[in-house]
């Protein structure tokens, strides 16, 4: 098979990218018959497009060249159209909480994939650390879902992802200073590491946006409070992941990385997609992103006087795949559940700054604990989907929970 090379593939010429309102109003996915991972792919690509749009706006705000500003405004408008076409795939029949569960499934299985593929051990540790937290969010929201909407998260995740306690949510509230990691070195980093950091950062950023906007739509106090608590952790995660990126990269090389990453992800998801209608959207957007990438590469040559090949992978990395990560996650649960951060590193002991933060923020209780207690009081036990047997951590097995 011929290798797909984003730098030589032409794509659709830039002046042919505009679409009508009707073309942007994608026919939504039917959640009852769809592969849950089709919805996951749409959620990821929405997050990627949202980042493309906001990155573009921030770049425009520091750009002094009018001609260049106009050029950037055009591609940004197209990225915003792509965001609509992608996000409008989401089923209107799903409630915000049902979509929230899909967001957490994305966080769990996308971050697991990235952790498994990441070549740099320090960066891999950052993903392994974060994924155990989103894994716990999935469990908390699943309990809320059954309690207030009388539906089971199993229907959303379809047993592809297990639902059980991870690192307890109340322990995710670290002092903000301890969420800042060391960054990779732009001159020596593996190009795949740049793509990984940008992908996970974008996904977490969109999760943060989503929770801060849908949380207040609920009227049940427990739902409102849980969205606040987890929403704040998503903001911590954005800090955690964005700090992995070398801040010394120029705006233009960052633009190239963004566009290359979009090509990489659309290509990956096009290869994996089972729904032909959705696959056609991934293919169309791939062909648009190729043109965006070429334009970005030209800008990097023009503005920085450097070749984009210096920062890009020599060939397209192995396509990103949505697939179950149950064994991987169980291994992490067994070995890393009690980690926290201190400075830019990880420790097992609760240190003074962590303890102080915990005392302040959790002093009148924690919604993420309360949701489980309330669920237990109403249904007899907590809600879980444990397809591979009991929880790997003895203290977190359901019997212990039910006897509490």
């Amino acid at each position: 098979m011929k290798l797909f090379n984003p730098l030589t593939e032409k794509g659709i010429p830039l002046d042919q990218h505009l679409r009508t309102w009707r073309e942007l109003d994608s026919e939504p996915i039917d959640p009852d018959t769809a592969d849950p991972y089709t919805i996951c792919r749409a959620i990821v690509m929405n997050g990627i497009e949202v980042e493309a749009v906001f990155f573009g706006h921030h770049l425009a705000r520091v750009c002094t060249d009018m001609e260049l500003k106009r050029e950037l405004a055009y591609t940004r408008y197209i990225e915003a159209q792509q965001q609509k076409a992608v996000n409008w795939l989401l089923p209107p029949i799903a409630s915000p909480l049902q979509t929230t569960i899909a967001y957490e499934q994305v966080a769990v299985d996308l971050t697991s994939w990235v952790a498994r593929m990441e070549p740099d051990p320090y960066l891999r540790q950052a993903y392994e650390f974060g994924v155990l937290e989103d894994f716990d969010h999935l469990y908390r929201y699943a309990n809320l879902f059954e309690m207030i909407e009388r539906r089971k998260a199993e229907k959303v995740v379809d047993s592809l992802t297990e639902v059980m306690p991870g690192r307890p949510t109340r322990l995710h509230h670290r002092h903000p200073a301890d969420n800042v990691r060391d960054h990779y070195d732009k001159d020596t980093a593996n190009p795949l590491s740049r793509l990984h950091a940008l992908t996970v950062m974008s996904a977490e950023q969109q999760t943060m946006n989503f929770y801060m906007n849908v949380g207040p739509q609920y009227m049940e106090p427990i739902a409102r409070q849980l969205y606040i608590e987890i929403g704040m952790i998503e903001q911590e995660h954005v800090t955690h992941y964005e700090s992995l990126v070398d801040p010394g990269e120029t705006w233009w090389e960052r633009l190239v990385t963004h566009e290359y990453n979009e090509v990489y992800l659309y290509y990956s998801f096009m290869r994996q997609e089972t729904d032909p209608r959705v696959k056609a959207i991934w293919e169309l957007h791939l062909n648009m992103e190729l043109a965006h990438l070429h334009a970005a590469c030209d800008l990097m040559r023009r503005m920085d006087g450097r070749e984009p090949e210096e920062i890009l992978p020599r060939e397209l990395p192995e396509p990103v795949k949505f697939e179950p990560n149950k064994e991987f996650l169980r291994e992490l649960l067994a070995t890393q559940i009690d980690l926290t951060t201190l400075g830019t590193g990880y420790v097992r002991e609760a240190h003074e700054r962590f303890e102080r933060m915990q005392q302040e923020i959790n002093r009148d209780g924690s919604p993420s604990e309360e949701v489980i207690d309330m669920h237990g009081a109403e249904f007899g036990s907590d809600y879980r989907v444990e397809t591979e047997g009991q929880h790997p951590v003895e203290g977190l097995r359901q019997m212990a929970e039910a006897q509490r």
């Binding site: 029949i93 409630s95 009388r150 539906r151």
Partner: protein, 156 residues
Amino acid sequence: MRAATTVVRQKDLIDVLLEQHALIEELFQLVETSRGKAKKEAFTELAALLQAHEEAEAEIVHPLAAATIDAGIEVTQERLEEEAEAKELLAQLIKSGPGSAAFDDDFQQLRASVLEHAVHEERYEFKHLRASQPPETLVELADKFLKRQKRLAATA
């Protein structure tokens, strides 16, 4: 925090309605994935539940919503129209039966219409009833709704 202690909330009308919506969704899926006798049985159960559910809603839920929520009359009128459409589709399906040639296509149409209707109820009616009605009223109405459904089922 506002709800510092864990109190078991009594099941209210909205809980009952949501539970039945979830059950209806599951039965739709069961009919779709079953064959032969199992499909027929699942469809009979679904049809009975849909009829009793919609009828009890028309008697208890929509009038309450019409009287108490903002623009209640218009909102419930649209729900009643959706219900009438679903009722007609259901009657056709009962007549033709799961073995007939057109069943699967018509059944898809019913499913889409019922599930969309349920989302509209949840968004435009139930949410507002939870906010406007005293909790004890909704708990009492849960009981009334279930009893009415039982009587409807007995006379069906």
